[in-house]
């Protein structure tokens, strides 16, 4: 394992210290792994979070017009309810708090327990659960689809709605609308190494790739031979097309998200394929985001997210934010 770190057990702690010194509009609630804005808004507040290792998610999306608080667990481990509760308490201005949770058993359980505790203290708390990953077929008997990179659209758009003074119910409605209209799928060339374990998350051959994976270094739903960018993108988009609410002629936003070690140049090469295929199918790409928004440590690979846009979502997507990672 080759990493820039001090003590492995201090990984998250050191990272959060380095983050708040870099971004003066962020602060850490002392004794916690919770990052909040230094200036509290008088508005509905948004809290998200999850395991660490997804940087810039989630603390990088804290700022005016996006999140009010981000809770960082250990690497790839959902934060504990007491930490989430601290975040809820810190950001609530009396107008209520929306939790943006990615659909993982751990995240859902820990955030829901925190929500119950916060409600018991008289704080109005609502939640939405993001499940944009179409690699996993959902069914009522299974755990359902995961939340991956598409989550950042929820942060941005619901955050803009909250900043504009909308009510908790309205912000929740808009967040859910994003969730209903965003679909993602990812692939990886190389695994990552969780610092505490020191072992690569999987072995993979020089001419293989994983398709349909999440953001926790896990293998995907399939391992297949490595092919060229055009073919990979078309494979991922086909799966997304099977689920997306957007039909040809609709406007969409695209996110080509790097998993950590993939150079931006390769993400641009992927975006070339994405934009060609979408244009050919008759979709109108109104906005494109390219870069690392939701990573999996130093995994090599990327995901594509497609969000169906309407005027409401487009305006909120374009609203300004001070979040460092947007």
């Amino acid at each position: 394992m080759k990493k820039i770190l001090n003590d492995v057990s201090q990984y998250v702690d050191d990272m959060l210290e380095g983050l708040v010194t870099a971004h003066p509009h962020l602060k850490r609630i002392p004794g916690t792994q919770v990052i909040v804005r230094t200036e509290k808004g008088d508005k509905v507040a948004l809290v998200s979070g999850g395991g660490s290792g997804h940087e810039p998610a989630h603390a990088g999306f804290v700022g005016q017009g996006m999140l009010d608080g981000a809770v960082a667990g250990e690497v790839f481990t959902s934060p504990t309810p007491d930490q989430v509760l601290e975040a809820i308490r810190a950001v609530d201005s009396g107008k209520g708090v929306l939790l943006v949770i990615k659909n993982y058993t751990g995240d859902v359980m820990n955030f829901e327990m925190a929500a119950e505790l916060a409600r018991a203290e008289g704080i109005e708390v609502e939640q939405v659960i993001v499940n944009d990953d179409v690699a996993v077929e959902g069914s009522t008997y299974t755990v359902g689809r995961r939340g991956i990179a598409g989550t950042v659209f929820v942060h941005k758009i619901a955050g803009a709605a909250a900043e504009s003074g909308q009510s908790l119910q309205e912000v929740k409605r808009i967040a859910q609308k994003v969730i209903d209209n965003v679909h993602s799928m990812g692939m990886a060339l190389l695994p990552c190494t969780v610092p505490a374990s020191g072992q690569p998350s999987f072995d993979i051959g020089e001419h293989e790739m994983e398709i349909g994976l999440g953001i926790h270094g896990e293998p995907g739903t399939e391992r297949i031979p490595l092919t060229d960018a055009d073919s990979i993108v078309s494979m991922l988009l086909d799966r997304i097309f099977a689920h997306t609410t957007a039909v040809p002629g609709d406007s969409v936003a695209v996110l080509v998200n790097g998993l950590g070690a993939t150079p931006l140049s390769e993400l641009y090469i992927a975006n070339r394929s994405v934009s060609r295929i979408l244009a050919e199918k008759g979709y109108k790409v109104l906005r494109t985001l390219i870069g690392e928004y939701m990573t999996s440590l130093e995994m090599a690979g990327f995901s594509i997210s497609i969000l169906k846009l309407d005027d409401e979502l487009t305006a909120l997507l374009d609203a300004p934010t001070t979040a460092p990672a947007w």
Binding site: G73, E74, T77, Y104, M109, N110, V143, S197, Q199, S201
Partner: protein
């Protein structure tokens, strides 16, 4: 069986914590194959914290001990296993309110309540490839063999339950995302629960219980 006194409870938690540290890499490795590679780290971190807590605040009875463990796990484990193991100790606390000694019947009822709590919290069914697949047959065997608990017999159930998860296709937890690729690896949470029962039986059975040699098995 011997009663589970407050002291025995504390040393059981301590033995379990040590066992988790010993088995951390094995648990991480299983979780690496079908999850995100942190189950051993999570469990070792949480139970080591629980031991620290029990040492710095010696509990007056078993229920308070359970509460301390539940709260410590809740605040230090995270992930899926944090709330689940925390639920186990919360249910035990509720069942054993005020007890300084837990007898056979109370132990069995406590564990049944813990299993019910696990299922209520995680909504997993038998066959979903989660720790419920370990807890269900073990708790059932405890009920079936109410009058004589035999260490070797119980250990056989534990071992079979862990190995039984190997060929399952996961429907709950992270391994579910792998679909059919989750087959061929034992569920890490079932193994950590197996260690829980191994140490519990060693603590309360008069003859103790022989530990399973997990490293000799194809997990």
């Amino acid at each position: 069986m011997n009663h589970l006194s407050t002291d025995t409870f504390v040393s059981f938690v301590e033995a379990y914590a040590n066992r988790l540290v010993e088995m951390r890499d094995v648990l991480n490795n299983l979780d690496n194959r079908i999850g995100d590679g942190d189950h051993g780290t999570n469990m070792a971190r949480g139970f080591s914290a629980a031991v620290d807590k029990l040492k710095s605040t010696p509990p007056p009875d078993v229920a308070v001990g359970c509460q301390l463990v539940a709260m410590t796990l809740l605040g230090s484990v995270g992930g899926a296993s944090g709330p689940l193991y925390s639920t186990v100790f919360m249910k035990l606390m509720a069942e054993w309110k005020g007890l300084t000694e837990v007898n056979r019947v109370q132990l069995q009822q406590g564990l049944q309540a813990a299993l019910d709590g696990l299922i209520a919290r995680g909504k997993a069914s038998v066959g979903d490839k989660t720790m419920v697949d370990l807890w269900t047959p073990v708790v059932r065997r405890l009920a079936e063999t109410e009058s004589v608990w035999d260490g070797a017999d119980l250990m056989a159930v534990v071992k079979e339950a862990v190995l039984g998860t190997k060929d399952m296709i996961a429907k709950k937890g992270r391994a579910a995302y792998l679909g059919a690729r989750s087959q061929g690896t034992c569920d890490p949470g079932s193994l950590s629960s197996a260690l829980f029962f191994e140490e519990l039986f060693a603590a309360v059975l008069p003859k103790g219980a022989e530990r399973i040699q997990w490293h000799t098995l194809a997990l």
